[in-house]
Symmetry: C2
Subunit: 115 residues, 2 copies
Amino acid sequence: MDITTTVKSLGALAQESRLAAFRLLVRRGDTGMAAGEIARELSIPHNTMSSHLAILTNAGLINSRRESRSIIYSIDFGGTRELLSFLMQDCCQGQPEICAPILDSVLPGCCAPNS
Amino acid sequence: MDITTTVKSLGALAQESRLAAFRLLVRRGDTGMAAGEIARELSIPHNTMSSHLAILTNAGLINSRRESRSIIYSIDFGGTRELLSFLMQDCCQGQPEICAPILDSVLPGCCAPNS
DNA sequence: ATAATATGTCGATTATCGTCGACATATGGA
DNA sequence: TCCATATGTCGACGATAATCGACATATTAT
């Protein structure tokens, strides 16, 4: 992942509605959520939400698939992982002090590495 | 860390010059780097860089201290860690699939948790 | 005090972003 | 086919952000 892509991804998340939509989709996993449902849930006009979803898609953070009349958006595991990996490695290699506490706080509750 | 703060921090990093400056400072650690030195290194006018540094500071990602004529900027461990923790926990709790591979890739090269 | 160096602030200009009404397209049912 | 539903696209407006010249402030040396 290069700087330009990283900037684009960070910019995609640096907006309240988009961050909210992204977090919503993270929790839904592969099941995803229809465009309209997201707009309703967040109380945002459907066309505004549409352009936000396009930006998140373009940044490689979410995917979409059609299901009859609806278009279901879901998180893009690959892109999301790439962004976080890039940020984490950037900090870790420069200053382990930053990452170690993060890992300690994230590990217990969720995912075990080397498992 | 709440959503508004997160958006502000992400926005601060979602700009090429600022992300470059941030990465530079991560690598310098507590030693930091003078404002002018950063501007010169990145070939950016000093006043433009000054406003970028102000934005990163306001987002809680970097700190500054005066050292004779220079003002030395350095990474803010606390703020940086908070942002990354928030993003990681957000994803981990929603979808462990995202975080596990990140941890696996970050752990070997750098910091060991529970150490 | 004066000058040189280092950085910050102000203000104006340009570019980009967020928002939303109006219209367009796609799907499925009557 | 005709209509309702679901979503996307276009265009315009207002708001915010990026950039940089000019000026202001702070520090140190002579």
